[in-house]
């Protein structure tokens, strides 16, 4: 177990992430040109979607795969409910709802890192886990917006009811129904690209994969290293430059919640008799938090919440924790449970 954790830390991809964090912390002027950084994130989404779709086409959706997807949906609903239940007693309820939405959703990069870890340790996993990841993205944001709507009704806060306007003039604030929020989540560029790549991988199957293997398989790890260097820079700068400082309780939550949710996912996976590789991926997904799609939606759907809280927790604390320590930890726990 320790050997696997050590191998993870010495993986060049992880080392590039650490280098990025250090460069950010020491305020190095190392920069990744923004268009290249955006390209790298799009590339990774296409690669992960194609890989999942192709594997799904070759293997099909087994009963075990269906159970894995069901377990993913259970975790996608449970994590935001637990998060909100815990945090509403500790922080402002709007912030608690926003954090619940962030932690209920998932980080695709953490998922990719977990896949790399499993590949390196020779542990197989199903292509349907990419479907599971896609399905885990949205329930939390729906729950968070529902919670916020209930909070607004309870507090009778007029301006954020999103419909309050003088009768003689149109409302400044757009009507944000749950349906609209779901629409925004599903049409988000990264989501469209991921789902589209998954479908293309499924339709094209193995022969299609062969044609694009040089770009999306052979170069994958090198490009992931470059992307994680950029992510590390972002994490380091988040700490080095920001005026904003998290409360201790939220810092503690951002570091304690991932292993708890990861463990819960592993137990659920054991009950559902999932394969070990699928279980570790489910744990990594459940332990991760969205720092792109959900924060982007929360910015306009929940203006009462402070972006500095949910964004910093997800990106600055939970993401590096999972990349460096979380994934090997979930693997170690799975070794005990699946032995």
């Amino acid at each position: 177990m320790l050997e696997a954790a050590g191998r993870n830390l010495l993986d060049p991809v992880i080392l590039f992430f650490v280098l990025g964090v250090l460069a950010g912390l020491i305020r190095s002027n190392l920069e990744m040109p923004q268009p290249i950084a955006k390209f790298l994130s799009l590339y990774l989404l296409v690669a992960i979607g194609l890989k999942g779709g192709t594997t799904l086409a070759v293997e099909g959706l087994s009963a075990s795969g269906a159970m894995a997807v069901l377990a993913a949906l259970i975790m996608a609903v449970s994590v935001p409910i637990i998060t909100y239940g815990v945090l509403k007693r500790l922080v402002d309820p709007f912030n608690a709802a926003a954090v619940a939405g962030t932690y209920g959703s998932v980080s695709a990069v953490t998922f990719i890192a977990a896949q790399q870890f499993l590949d390196k340790n020779g542990i197989p996993f199903g292509g349907y886990m990419t479907v599971a990841m896609v399905l885990m993205e949205t329930p939390a944001i729906i729950l968070a917006v529902t919670l916020v709507t209930l909070l607004r009704a309870k507090q009778a806060v007029a301006p954020v009811s999103l419909s309050a306007a003088a009768a003689d003039q149109p409302s400044v604030i757009p009507a944000l129904s749950i349906g609209r929020v779901v629409y925004e989540a599903l049409t988000y560029g990264g989501h469209v690209l991921l789902v589209g790549s998954l479908v293309i991988g499924f339709v094209a199957g193995a022969p299609g994969q062969d044609a694009i293997r040089p770009l999306f398989s052979d170069l994958f790890k090198g490009i992931l290293a470059f992307f994680l260097l950029d992510m590390g820079l972002l994490v380091g700068r988040q700490f080095g430059d920001a005026e904003f400082r998290l409360e201790y309780v939220l810092t503690a939550f951002a570091l304690i919640a991932p292993p708890l949710y990861g463990s819960l996912a592993l137990l659920l996976a054991r009950v559902f008799a999932l394969a070990q590789g699928d279980a570790v991926l489910l744990a990594a997904l459940s332990a991760s938090a969205s720092y792109i799609v959900v924060p982007a939606i929360l910015r306009y759907a929940v203006p009462e919440a402070r972006p500095g809280i949910y964004f910093t927790m997800a990106l600055g604390l939970t993401f590096p924790f999972n990349i460096i320590a979380g994934i090997p930890l979930y693997h170690a726990i799975s070794e005990l449970l699946w032995r």
Binding site: M32, Q34, A37, K38, S41, P159, V160, P170, V172, I173, P174, D230, L233, L234, R237, Q238, D241, A242, E243, F244, Y291, I292, P295, A296, I297, R299, Y300, P303, E304, A305, R306, P307, G308, F311, T312
Partner: protein
């Protein structure tokens, strides 16, 4: 030379996620002309590095008359009271108009 016209320059600084909402708000006030500049920075909500695409800000420049400015500022006030993180900066400016009115042309003579 065509005479200069007194106008107001409204500069809005907001998270890029609010760009569409702000443009819609301006359009409701029949303001269709604006200039957008993506930008980065930092503030009380943390660093907006622009590295993720979503963690960036946008500058929206609008050249506007004083009467219309008041209505837009009321809209911005409503948004800010609702919790949206928008900065509105107003400056007095003079512009060289593209279209010269008859009155302006007379003054120029």
């Amino acid at each position: 030379m065509r005479p200069l016209e007194d106008k107001k320059l409204l500069t809005l600084i907001a998270p890029i996620e609010l760009q569409r909402m702000l443009i819609d708000t301006l359009k409701r006030r029949e303001i269709g002309g604006y200039t957008l500049v993506p930008c980065t920075g930092a503030g009380t909500t943390g660093l907006r590095s622009g590295m993720l695409g979503v963690d960036s800000n946008v500058l929206i420049y609008v050249i506007i008359s004083e009467q219309r400015l008041q209505r837009v500022l009321e809209d911005m006030d409503t948004l800010m009271r609702s919790g949206y993180r928008v900065k509105a900066i107003v400056q007095d400016i003079a512009i060289m108009p593209r279209k010269v009115t008859a009155e302006g042309a007379q003054n120029a003579d």
